[in-house]
Symmetry: C2
Subunit: 330 residues, 2 copies
């Protein structure tokens, strides 16, 4: 692989170079990993900054339809849009390339759009780490908006919130979170709740659902530094397009406010530091886990702890003694 050509291609915003670079970043091979590291370092440019939008919603709320309508509106304004996915289920199924591109047929043909499904890895943390790198690549390739889709059922939302600037929850009209299968805690991290399908006979119901959520949001404390009226609930229709421009306006308002207050940069710095720490921690544990004896002992002690037969800290001390000898860290 010609790394220099890839670097130039990304800097030039070439979509094929971006696709190849993503494949490299997602590869599990050690030599690819070394190249990916070099690549990421070379293209990292603090001057190129997309708006990163996390978009969560359970299957059936119309996430793909919304993303297509939202994406086409953005490309219609001359903006370049990348759509990525973090799908916890793809850890098992191996992604859904065909599915994503089929569902966003028009957007996938748009020269200013780039759609990439979730990488297939066996572990959600690994998927998240790679997705974060893919965001960085899309940003380096000059995309203005990066949408990171996730299915609102697992812990993937927290991970996506840690790599985006704005977190949006897409809901269908009617029912509480329970009926919609939204996991406890997701509503709490949302900057914007969009109640989709506000069209036809669902319109009135969408308005009521939106009002319910707006009321519930008032019970939560706003994020420090955010405008008084955020987080916000709005109705949208991916079919008629109603509310989609407003949603984008609200996102830009929030980003502009956070940029002016310095909160935007602060959050990004915190996120970067988080992923650095996470990668170092993960790397250390992986290194230790590569020793079969260490791993077996860890599992054995972990099972005793789970069964209540050993105190967690006592078992941990034994594990640490095994790793580092007589030295007993607190």
């Amino acid at each position: 692989m010609d790394l220099d050509r890839l670097i130039t291609g990304i800097r030039d915003g070439d979509r094929r170079a971006l696709a190849r670079a993503i494949t490299l970043v997602e590869s599990g091979r050690a030599d690819h990993r070394a190249q990916a590291t070099q690549l990421l370092d070379a293209v990292t440019d603090p001057e190129r900054q997309a708006i990163r939008i996390g978009l969560s919603g359970t299957p059936g709320v119309g996430k793909s339809t919304f993303t297509e309508a939202f994406g086409l509106m953005l490309t219609g304004q001359g903006l370049r849009v990348a759509v990525l996915a973090v799908d916890p289920s793809s850890a098992r199924s191996g992604g859904s390339i065909l599915g994503d591109k089929t569902r966003m047929e028009q957007l996938s043909r748009d020269p200013n759009a780039f759609i990439r499904p979730s990488p297939s890895q066996t572990e959600l943390g690994g998927v998240a780490r790679r997705t974060r790198e893919v965001i960085a690549l899309a940003e380096a390739a000059g995309f203005d908006v990066v949408i990171v889709e996730t299915v609102g059922v697992g812990q993937s939302e927290t991970l996506v919130a840690q790599m985006t600037d704005i977190f949006t929850l897409l809901l269908a009209p009617g029912g509480g979170d329970e009926l919609q299968g939204v996991k406890r805690g997701i509503m709490e991290i949302a900057d914007l709740i969009l109640v989709n399908k506000a069209d036809g006979e669902m319109k009135a119901q969408a308005g009521r659902t939106c009002a319910d959520y707006a009321g519930a949001l008032r019970l939560f404390r706003k994020r420090p530094g955010d405008p008084e009226d955020f987080p916000k609930a709005l109705t949208v229709s991916a079919v008629t397009g109603d509310g989609i421009a407003t949603a984008w306006d609200e996102m830009r308002t929030l980003v502009a406010h956070r940029r002016a207050s310095g909160q935007f940069d602060k959050t990004r710095a915190r996120q970067n530091r988080h992923w650095f720490d996470d990668a170092v921690r993960h790397g250390i544990l992986r290194h230790l886990g590569s020793d079969p004896e260490t791993r077996a002992r860890m599992e054995e002690l972990g099972a005793a702890v789970a069964a209540g037969d050993a105190a967690p800290s006592a078992a941990a001390d034994r594990m640490l003694s095994l790793l580092f000898g007589g030295d007993r860290p607190d």
Copy 2:
């Protein structure tokens, strides 16, 4: 220190032995740590199981008054009650022994009660790890109910939720979470919301606040396996005692339900495993951090990452190469 006498004392439920054991567990000295590990291992007994209740609420909601009334009701039923605190601010101030005991004057003189303030450590994670061990000691000493108090303003709630069976949020009448300073996300982990001060001229307002929260709770998905009507919101008065017996009934109902379904044991096993993993991870990082050169390099790379000058994963790979040589973990 005579460890055998301490072990016997704890098994006999002796409060002075418990107090001394806690001091040992909280000590930062390496030889104390080794003894604490031995002690925890010796007294761990899966047969002795308290109901562990997490209690969160911002200053001013009447947490101490509630705990005193609640604790006295329990000791009045012949139950033994331990009250522990995780106070993020004590990481700076060094705890508030006098404060806690003064505020719960009657309970602190009750022979069936044991009150222990937050350990003073410089790091919340360290406070949490020690508190978890103190819970284990109180459980081994035969306490029937262990109440872990925390101030609802930081990340301490998530930590406390990871070490208790039931999480209770205490609120004052009026205003949303915002007015009460409750952090986003806390309401989400509550099994029970208690609106305190439902007495005198505040009574009607407390009822309205309770109804608001009951409505908001319906928007969250219940925990898998929990009864349909949980999480729940109730009014209580720490002054008149109204609702306190009901709150305890609800807690027992929830615990009985979770015990019958196996969820109770499953959650404890998961929590134990979590604290084991946490202690091992922490120990490894601490061991690495004890090397000044490693620490300096980690800070240097972390700062570059936060500033956007280096890609998090690339910086992490460099850190890992430094630690383990040419080996590059994913």
